[in-house]
């Protein structure tokens, strides 16, 4: 019997369910999920705008965040404004990923990390049926508090490995496990999803609770709009423009 993991997160226990019942195929779980949430609902739209709140309860921090994305050409920008801290922005224009924040100033994301950036920018990834995922495998039936789920391991083209756990009851993803990669290093990240609702024809988790570097981050989705993004909104901040212009 293989070794199973025990993860305890913010009072929530993730326990393996013992027993050797036949596990469903990953492709069936993914198909069920993609259908349940209408993951392909983005097709037929040119752009999306998401507004959410970000809370770090232990630090007493709360911020508004807005993310916009254009599908062709692929471009994205996310802005988060923490009161007392200033605005953090990050973006991707299909070729160059950049970020700017009050602690570091502006920077260009190294080419070595662009593969993951491209994958994240692909709206098809929500379905988990995109070409960016080279293989998916169901590895165990487990339990998050009282919710049973099937844990699926995904291997991506970029080489990264992530896990989703699909609810046994309704097929929704109840938690995900991945590594956040930056030039500084990798941070293990576990996200718990709840309160799925319809946003513009696609069901999404209203609340995403993340444990990252010992901190809990709660993201609450406020709104989702299709096709309201003006291409001018992708204009680069002045300090990033200076870097991009200089980039050979």
């Amino acid at each position: 019997m293989k070794t199973r993991s025990l993860v305890v997160l913010a009072g929530m226990s993730l326990l393996p369910v013992t027993g050797s019942a036949q596990l469903p195929a990953a492709k069936d779980l993914i198909q069920k999920w993609a259908t349940a949430v209408n993951a392909s609902g983005w097709k037929g739209h040119k752009s999306a705008r998401m507004v959410a709140t970000v809370d770090l309860p232990a630090m007493g921090m709360s911020a508004k965040t807005e993310a916009i994305q254009m599908y062709a050409p692929a471009m994205s920008i996310q802005k988060t404004d923490f009161p007392g801290m200033g605005e953090m922005r990050m973006g991707f224009d299909g070729k160059t990923a950049w970020m700017t924040n009050p602690m570091m100033g502006a920077s260009i994301v190294p080419d070595s990390l662009l593969g993951a950036q491209r994958e994240e920018a692909d709206p098809d990834n929500y379905s988990r049926m995109s070409a960016a995922i080279t293989s998916s495998e169901t590895i165990e039936k487990t339990k998050l508090n009282d919710t049973e789920c099937y844990k699926v391991k995904h291997t991506w083209k970029s080489g990264r490995v992530t896990h989703d756990c699909f609810s046994v009851a309704d097929g929704y993803i109840v938690w995900s496990q991945s590594k956040a990669t930056s030039p500084m290093g990798e941070v293990e990240m576990v996200q718990m999803f709840s309160a799925y609702k319809d946003y513009g024809g696609v069901k999404r988790a209203t609340t995403t609770s993340t444990e990252q570097a010992g901190q809990q981050i709660i993201i609450t989705l406020q709104s989702w709009e299709w096709d309201t993004v003006d291409p001018k909104e992708f204009e680069l901040p002045a300090d990033v423009k200076a870097l991009v212009t200089k980039k050979p």
């Binding site: 770090l56 993310a67 100033g105 709206p123 290093g185 300090d239």
Partner: protein, 460 residues
Amino acid sequence: MTSRALILRLPLLGLLYACGGRTTVAAPDARPYDAALGLASFDTAWSRINATYYDSTFRGIDWVGLRDSLRPGVARAAQPDEMRRAIRTLFDRLGESHFMIVPSEIAQAMRGDSTRPSEPGTIGVGFRMVDGKVMVSSVEPGSVAEQAGVRRGWIVERVGRREVAPLLAAQRALDDPTAARRAAMQLVLRLEASAGTYLGDTVTLVARDGGGKRHAVTMVATEAPGQLVKYLQLPPQQFHLAHRRYADAAGCVGWVHFNTWMLPVLPALDRAMDSVRDCRGLVLDLRGNLGGVAGLLMGVSGFFVDTAVSLGTLTSRQTTLRYLVNPRRATSRGESVVPYGGRLAILVDPLSASASELFTAGMRDIGRARVFGDTTAGEALPAAVSRLPNGDLFMHVIADFHAPNGARIEATGVVPDEVIPLRRATLLRGEDAPLAAALAWAGRTAVQAAARGTSPGGQP
């Protein structure tokens, strides 16, 4: 676009805070003590350390047993200080810096929530321990202290209502060198806090001059330079950056000082560097800088380093991350610039703490700077700040830090390449010996390079 993408990119590391912490005073909390809330606060403090302290062995302490031994006393507590004493026992047993609890009433006063006027004030003096005595180590030009005749090298006996002798006696009684050094630092900070925290404070300084004559000088605090900065749940802090060109026949040597690692530092440094960029050498004066937002190391170092090298590693239970230099190739105004390449001297002293120490150790280890002054505080651990259920501010260590050469800075501090301790004789002459040495070094080789007809500004 998924929620994952949104979370992945939040630069959490930058939220880590590291600061020695200045002290203030406030009226005692008049509210009746809520025992249940007190117990919940103790439990929360213990649990947060339990979940996030980088060393899961708790330095060999029976962490659960320690809680169990303290908790009954907290449950019986009749005053908030009894509960806080128990939390401080947790800190003491771990024996590291960056554990702090600030009572809610003090946190409110520091935030300006009380009726107390909270405009920051200053009389313009700095104190340091010199040869076991507290002395006036700096007098700001144009300050009320200078106008009142206060001079460097005076031996301080009283600041406001705070007598120095009993504080010194308590500090001298400590056997452990690390504890004694930390106590000396807190002693100086207490005295500086008593020397006019708010605009309009009346402060009497009692001190002896070089001839032994006792002076009692009463001054009214004037507006402190700089801007009030609020970061997360912390009380507002006064951020101040100053810069100067020391011109000579060969050109100039620049000097830049900032008092805390707070967010306005990057745009302020943009402006400062514009005025000293052509100088052949630069002194970055971090004396008295107690630290702040550790994430700023990456931005500030980028003003002086043109490659994304590591200034050290942060190790938490979950991960190891590097503080990478982000070369400053564009200003906040969007102008292209080149990181400063001239000689860089960093000036530190025992009140250079936390982020200042991480920065100094990192810059020296990568060969970018030479360090002058006196050994730093040795309070160098990344920490997080949160609130306890009773409203107290709670700072706790979440990671360990190692400089690029693998050394820990915590407890030992950064020993300068050129140790130049303060001496009363030089202070009384009005000299700033550490600054003079740093300026001389920062300008020296560049002068020689210029004399040889080569371009000044090579890295040391």
